[in-house]
């Protein structure tokens, strides 16, 4: 609208020379209504065709001077301008509100306001020819005053044209005539400026039209040409980089609204997933699964310092260790690698044995036992009877102290006198020797001329008498030098007293017994032999009753005649058993009761001599009994046998052995109890003597305790005969033994 008016003004101005009537209002309208709004058009015109515009201004001024009121209006205009400048500060304060509904006065006021310089002077983009006739020959408008129409349909008037002369004169005057061309569309002369000529030249020369453009300006390197490790960009930030995104904001606001309106609601809370700790019970006890305990897989050993890639120095092998390790076979090396120091983990190479070890581990797991095998909780030690330590059972004989050397044959029997000072021994060399027990001094020798099978001291403390079985007779000896005069007299009296009484009763007695009590020859009497009891068969054993008056002998007879009991004081002999089954091996008086023990080949029979009755028959379960001895308290006895077995009987318990022990390698020859200590010993043909602790308790409910204590070795074996007799010392915990090697030994 405004532009239309502007162009109308111009056209009016151009036409003013030709049609004067129509112009004044038109010009006046233009000035009043839109001076500020068309300034741009005016400026642009001036820019492009300044030369011709200058002419138009001149023309307009001349026209205004002609019309008369033109000046007035310009005065008015200038007055207004002056007013506005004077009251500039006051006027600026007025706004449309100050005028209220009085728009007309506001419009008037507005016209007083100074024009605003919009600053479009340099802008040529809006240049447009007002003529809208298009690309038609201008010759069609030769006959008309106008040369075309504006967009509003207004005529565009022909500019005033001079004649040829004017043109000539003008060309003559105009120095820029050579740069001036005729624009047929607008019917104007256009002068090309020097810059435009320069541009034209550049285009024609193929150069860049813009003279300000420097094609050789230094390069601004948004990205550097050099290769950098961390390249950075020097590119300027985009606006987007620091301005909040509008679209995001819109989107957010959309969501916010949706949330507010309830279109978007929070999702329902998801059920939390339960996580299972697979290794939770790895260390716990294996669970019972169907009664069978589960077996955890065998664990790998934790790595040690040696397996470290950077072990402490002391773990690194020295050169010798390395050499020694390498020299060994793989299975002897202990560990399959040598500690190595790599310094850093990244330097560690691949482990060449990795696959081997994984495979071995897999094998381990594959072959590992899957089930726990219940082992029996019994161990051998618990099964063994709990026996006290032999060291706690001292004293007992443990070492050889003395050897009594002198006999030239087997020493078949030994005996210690009741005081414990003297030792008696009978040997195959036909002699009986008396030894001082402590020193081993042979105090006396009786040479008797026949094998001495047995010697036995009379157990009575009042007398000093012993009996020796020599061949088929028993001699009763009083070793006079061992006792003082009184004891000697008593002993001799006891031994000899029987001669007188026996002589008196001799006729009355039963002659069936093959026994004769004789006075030995004078030579023998001088050596202390006072009585000689002769029998028909060889006497094997002599056993004294504890009182010292009765003496039992065992001969090689068969049947009841083998066992005879002699009364020393009366020189009487009797045969207690009319018949006896089996070959008698050993006889013994019971130490406390009026009992008599007869050991046959298989059984031990106990007779009560007073009641003349059989008390008990013990069955040791052995094939051949060799010896028997009764515990000094009388309730227990031990039986030794040629089949190496030792049987302990508790007479109150049973006729079967309480305990059978077979430790000897050869036949047992003799068993004996200690009278004073809880000890017993067995002598065997294997040349050893075994000493046992045999404790009998006063409490009848408690079984006897038998503990093997010691094996005593020392006797030589001659003709497969070892130790023939053994005997405990009556007072000390010492043991005496005699052997086939002709020696007697004292063990302490």
């Amino acid at each position: 609208m405004a532009a239309g008016k502007g162009s109308k003004k111009r056209s009016a101005a151009a036409k003013s020379s030709s049609i004067e009537d129509e112009f004044p209002t038109a010009i006046g309208n233009i000035d009043v209504s839109s001076e500020s709004e068309y300034a741009s058009d005016a400026g642009s015109d001036a820019d492009v065709i300044s030369g011709s515009e200058q002419n138009f201004e001149d023309v307009l001024k001349a026209m205004a001077a002609d019309q008369g009121f033109e000046a007035g209006s310009s005065d008015e205009k200038e007055d207004g301008g002056e007013e506005s400048e004077i009251d500039d500060e006051d006027m600026r304060k007025l706004t449309i509100r100050d005028f209220g509904s009085d728009l007309a006065s506001w419009k008037a006021y507005r016209q007083t306001l100074p024009q605003i310089e919009a600053g479009y002077a340099s802008d040529s983009s809006t240049e447009d020819t007002p003529n809208t006739i298009g690309n038609v020959p201008i010759a069609w408008y030769e006959d008309y005053p106008h040369i075309g129409y504006t967009v509003d349909g207004q005529r565009v008037m022909k500019p005033a044209q001079g004649d040829e002369l004017d043109r000539f004169l003008e060309n003559m005057d105009n120095p820029d005539v050579f740069r001036t061309a005729r624009d047929e569309a607008s019917q104007r002369d256009v002068t090309v400026s020097a810059e435009e000529i320069d541009i034209i030249r550049r285009i024609q020369g193929g150069d860049i039209p813009d003279a300000a453009y420097d094609p050789y300006a230094p390069t601004v390197e948004w990205f550097t040409s050099q290769t950098m490790k961390t390249p950075v960009t020097g590119a300027p930030l985009t606006k987007r980089a620091f301005v909040p995104s509008k679209w995001e904001h819109k989107r957010v606001m959309q969501l916010v609204r949706a949330i507010r309106s309830g279109a978007i609601t929070a999702p329902p809370p998801r059920a939390e997933r339960r996580l299972y700790d697979v290794w939770e019970n790895a260390d716990a006890e294996p669970r019972e699964t169907r009664g069978r305990p589960r077996m955890p897989a065998p664990r790998l050993a934790l790595p040690t310092h040696e397996e470290s890639y950077h072990p402490p120095e002391e773990y690194l092998p020295t050169a010798e260790q390395r050499a020694a390790w390498e020299a060994k076979d793989a299975e002897d090396r202990g560990r399959a690698f040598l500690p190595q120091d790599f310094g850093a983990l990244r330097s560690v190479p691949g482990y060449e044995r990795f696959v081997d070890e994984r495979f071995a581990r897999c094998l381990d797991l594959y072959l590992a036992p899957r089930m726990l095998k219940k082992k029996s909780a019994l161990n051998a030690d618990e099964l063994m009877p709990r026996l006290p330590d032999p060291r706690d059972l001292r004293p007992f004989p443990a070492a050889e102290a003395l050897a009594y050397v002198g006999h030239t044959g087997r020493v078949r029997s030994i005996s210690v006198d009741p005081t414990g000072l003297w030792l008696l021994s009978g040997s195959d060399d036909g002699s009986v020797r008396l030894w001082e027990l402590v020193t081993g001094r042979c105090a006396r020798v009786w040479t008797l001329g026949a094998t001495v099978h047995a010697v036995a001291w009379c157990p009575s403390a009042d007398v000093c008498v012993f009996a020796a079985a020599v061949g088929s007779r028993v001699v009763v000896v009083v070793p006079g030098e061992l006792c003082d005069g009184q004891k000697r007299t008593v002993s001799e009296d006891l031994v000899r007293a029987g001669f007188s009484t026996a002589a008196a009763e001799d006729d009355a007695s039963d002659d069936a017994l093959p026994v004769s009590w004789d006075v030995p020859p004078t030579a023998e009497q001088a050596t202390g032999m006072h009585v000689s009891i002769s029998m028909h068969k060889t006497v094997k054993t002599v056993a004294w009753h504890r009182r010292g008056d009765y003496l039992a002998t065992l001969t090689a007879d068969e049947g009841g005649g083998a066992v005879l009991i002699h009364q020393l004081s009366k020189h009487k002999s009797q045969r207690p058993f009319r018949t006896l089954k089996g070959a008698v091996q050993s006889i013994k008086f019971h130490p406390t009761r009026p009992w008599f023990l007869v050991a046959t080949q298989r059984y031990v029979r106990i007779y009560n001599l007073m009641q003349q009755a059989l008390v008990k028959t013990l069955q040791p379960g052995v094939k051949w009994i060799s010896s028997v001895d009764v515990h000094p308290q009388g309730d227990n006895l031990v039986v030794g046998s040629y089949d190496k077995k030792l049987s302990w009987f508790d007479l109150d318990l049973s006729v079967k052995p309480y305990r059978s022990i077979r430790y000897h390698k050869q036949a047992i020859r003799q068993v004996c109890f200690s009278r004073k200590f809880p000890l017993f010993a067995t002598a065997s043909d294997d040349g050893t003597i075994q000493v046992y602790h045999g404790m009998v308790y006063q409490d009848l409910n408690q079984n006897p305790l038998i503990v093997p204590l010691k094996i005593l070795r020392g006797h030589d074996i001659r003709n497969s005969l070892g130790v023939l007799d053994c005997l405990f010392h009556p007072i000390q915990p010492w043991l005496l033994s005699s052997g086939a090697d002709g020696t007697i030994r004292l063990w302490t």
Partner: protein
């Protein structure tokens, strides 16, 4: 090992014998030194031309190993100064003579360095002099002589020595009319007399017997035969029997009888400090102290093993006993507590049949054993100082039954019948004993 051998210690050497004294300033010696090295040092300090061997005592015990081992055993620090007392070493006893007998020797006693009385199992008491001459062969016993005892020198008594025998008598021998003969026979025991001892002042003697009694007799010869006293009691048949070879010997009866032992009494000796006290040991494993004046058994100490010999030392005031368990025990008779066995010395391989204290030392004693060796002990050292083996091949392994230490002579005899006389160096006269300190 190197550092150990180079370790050193400061020691201070102390001597009680003034003739061997060295400055008491501590000296630094290697810890690896033993007796020999220390002895060399002392000899060097003394400047002896002929080295004298010394023994060294640390904390009252002989140094038998290196100093470092001693420190380890005693747990003492090597930083401290170790005080070592040194005494002149006893030289090993040397056998100087051997007198041969026909039968076993049961006992020996020397009255002077020139006179040795030997009792033998053949019943003969022999008197030898140092020139290997048998001065006398005295036969009055019917049976083996088991013990002899000589009177102390300077005796006013006529009795030179007493012998006890298995014939239950003890015979006192003396010189009468220029001839050595039996003065009287002490009768009364009913079993073998195992030991006899005469008191230091030569007034009384005691006999120990296998009849489990000890009898106390006066040494003086009786005016007349005291048979009647015995006959009053119980021994009538004996006097009848004695009509024989030795009937002329006067009989002496005991003053008192000490009964208490249960079993044979094997040995007896006087307390040399207290005349009326007697120590005895027997088969009942006891060591008893008796007051002979009153006949009271003062103390009884038990030790589980048969006592075979007893000897008392006036210097150390200790009793030494030989035992059937092959050991020598030392008893302190004055202590009241039950652990009266002060020390047990075991190195023998057989019964210790006889023990004898050194007459002039508080520490030395000798023991003879059935294993045929004599061992000389210093009670400050557990192992024996010397083990004397018989030089004669026929004596090897033969039982030794008798031992006596008289002055510098050590006499021993036994099964082999040879009286072995050894010389012990008399330089070792350590007068500084506990007897003096007490």
């Amino acid at each position: 090992m190197d550092t150990k051998s180079e370790a050193q210690i400061q020691i201070r050497l102390v001597a009680k014998q003034t003739k061997h004294a060295v400055p008491s300033t501590p000296i630094v010696v290697p810890q690896q030194l033993q007796r020999y090295g220390l002895s060399e040092i002392v000899n060097h300090l003394l400047g002896n031309e002929r080295p004298v061997p010394f023994d060294f005592l640390a904390d009252g015990q002989f140094l038998r190993s290196t100093i470092s081992e001693h420190l380890k055993e005693s747990g003492s620090s090597a930083e401290d100064i170790l005080t070592l007392e040194y005494v002149e070493s006893m030289l090993p006893p040397t056998e100087i003579a051997s007198y041969s007998h026909d039968d076993w020797i049961s006992s020996v006693s020397a009255s002077s360095p020139d006179r040795f009385v030997v009792g033998s199992y053949d019943g003969i008491v022999r008197v030898w002099n140092a020139q290997s001459e048998c001065e006398a062969e005295l036969q009055a016993h019917d049976s083996a002589v088991k013990c002899v005892a000589t009177t102390a020198p300077g005796s006013k008594s006529k009795v030179e020595f007493i012998s006890g025998s298995q014939d239950r008598t003890a015979i006192a021998w003396g010189t009468k009319g220029g001839q050595r003969k039996a003065l009287y026979a002490a009768r009364g025991h009913t079993d073998s007399i195992e030991a006899v001892a005469i008191n230091p002042t030569n007034t009384h003697f005691v006999t120990a017997s296998a009849d489990s009694t000890i009898r106390f007799w006066s040494l003086a010869a009786p005016k007349k035969s005291e048979d009647d006293i015995l006959e009053d009691t119980d021994d009538a048949p004996v006097s009848k029997k004695r009509k024989g070879a030795h009937a002329h010997i006067m009989t002496k009866a005991a003053i008192g009888t000490l009964s208490g032992h249960v079993g044979p009494v094997t040995s007896v000796c006087f307390n040399k400090d207290e005349e009326s006290q007697v120590f005895s040991g027997g088969w009942d494993h006891s060591m008893r102290t008796w007051d002979v004046a009153t006949g009271v058994n003062l103390t009884t100490s038990l030790c589980d093993k048969v006592v075979l010999d007893v000897d008392y030392s006036a210097h150390s005031r200790l009793i030494a006993t030989g035992h059937a368990d092959r050991s020598v025990r030392l008893w302190d008779p004055r202590s009241e507590d039950s652990t009266v066995v002060k020390l047990r010395l075991s190195s023998h391989k057989g019964f210790v049949s006889s023990v004898a204290w050194a007459p002039s030392s508080a520490y030395m004693l000798a023991s003879a054993s059935h294993d045929g060796t004599i061992k000389v002990w210093d009670i400050r050292s557990r192992p024996p100082l010397y083990t004397v083996h018989p030089t004669d091949a026929k004596d090897k392994g033969k039982k030794l039954l008798a031992l006596d230490w008289h002055k510098s002579l050590l006499l021993a005899g036994g099964e082999s019948g040879s009286l072995r006389i050894h010389s012990v160096n008399s330089q070792y006269d350590d007068q500084e004993g506990p007897a003096e300190e007490a």
